[in-house]
Amino acid sequence: MNRDELEEGLIELDMALAKAFPGPEAIECLVVGGACLLFQGITNRVTEDIDVIIFNLMGSEETTLIFKTPLATKICTIIKRVGKQRYGLKGDHQLFFNDNCAPFLLELGRNILPDMRLFKKYQKLHLYIPNDLKYLLALKLMAGRPEKDHDDIRKLCERLNVQNRAQAKAVVDIYFPSLRDQFDYRLPNTLQELFKE
């Protein structure tokens, strides 16, 4: 999906959610991953899913679609229906809008999300993006997926003028300062692989 197709899908999803949940409560979430890079103009590449971290699920105590509660199940059914109708996705795996990344990122951030700003406010879906691109770079460095993230890391480093290992480490330290986490996620290796001293 390019940016327009992504937004069309979100509008359709929002309308379906508004119909199913007529009350005023919204789903508020932080967009991360490829969709966020697309929205921020860092890349223009297509993406096939929208990764989010939900911090308000229509006023309920829940904040994730991962557990099969009645509310999450109802929302997931709507997402799957839109995924099937709009994108032709099959079977039980049509969650083009999902928060599968949330457990990883909330664990890493100790349940604290970065400063964020409103990006799009639909009727039911309120989408936020990180206020500082450094968060996205920190995530990618912690993820340690050189093949997948190499180009994005390079583009983010250019944009943020990050040129060496120490500067990259300083960016990660802002959001994920735990040395144990950094070690568990192989950060020293990733920095050594990707940056000159």
């Binding site: 999906m1 197709e5 069309e8 932080l30 490829g34 590449r45 297509v46 096939e48 899913d49 990764d51 971290i53 911090f55 308000n56 105590e61 904040t63 991962i66 709009r86 994108y87 032709g88 996705l89 099959k90 079977g91 039980d92 795996h93 049509q94 969650l95 999902n98 599968n100 457990p103 990883f104 909330l106 664990e107 951030g109 100790r110 349940n111 604290i112 999300l113 400063d115 964020m116 700003r117 409103l118 936020y128 206020n131 993820a143 340690g144 997926r145 050189p146 093949e147 997948k148 993230d149 190499h150 180009d151 994005d152 144990r180 568990d184 996620y185 290796n189 050594q192 692989e193 990707l194």
Partner: protein, 179 residues
């Protein structure tokens, strides 16, 4: 707009045409681990099509895809398709998935960690080449691995630290919205 099923053969076709790893293999990963979990075998079955007079890069990605078919078949109880055993999909010299000739550190790291299915084809990549966040994943860095790590970490924490950690992780994520 309909999403077309991203088989390994389709991913190869895109890589051979110059598409980046993130899109070509990233979309394959989305299908393998999220959208088509029940049809994984189909994603591997179609043979890749090497272009006439392939370049070194096109041969490299072909060997990578053959390695990927074998690696994924082994890890997810699938059948490795016959095409992946074609000896043509093997590089004469070491070939790296990231074409950064200046980066000796990365190459050294890849040489240490490349899974066997790639190594035997003389292709070198990271051992997190298929890492993803989807629950069906058994790759390094999977959700199951995260949960296991959390259990181990909690078990070794002093009580006060454990309580502080659990209290921090409880409840909704803490946010700060900038106007």
């Amino acid at each position: 707009m309909r999403l077309k099923q991203q088989t390994l053969a389709t991913a190869y076709q895109q890589l051979a045409a110059g598409e980046g790893f993130r899109i070509a293999m990233g979309n394959f990963i989305n299908f393998f681990f999220l959208y088509a979990v029940d049809d994984r075998q189909e994603l591997l079955n179609d043979p890749i099509q090497l272009p006439p007079h392939p370049t070194k890069v096109q041969r490299g990605w072909a060997a990578f895809c053959a390695g990927a078919a074998e690696y994924l078949a082994e890890r997810y109880s699938l059948v490795c398709p016959a095409w992946a055993h074609n000896p043509a999909y093997c590089m004469a010299e070491p070939w790296y998935t990231i074409s950064d000739d200046d980066n000796r550190e990365l190459q050294e790291s890849f040489r240490k960690t490349t899974p066997e299915a790639f190594r035997k084809r003389n292709v070198f990549c990271s051992n997190r080449v298929f890492t993803n966040q989807y629950p069906s994943s058994r790759e390094p860095g999977s959700l199951a691995e995260l949960q296991q790590r959390r259990v181990e970490r909690l078990a070794t924490m002093p009580q006060a630290e454990r309580e502080a950690y659990l209290s921090q992780m409880a409840g909704k994520p803490r946010i700060h919205i900038v106007a």
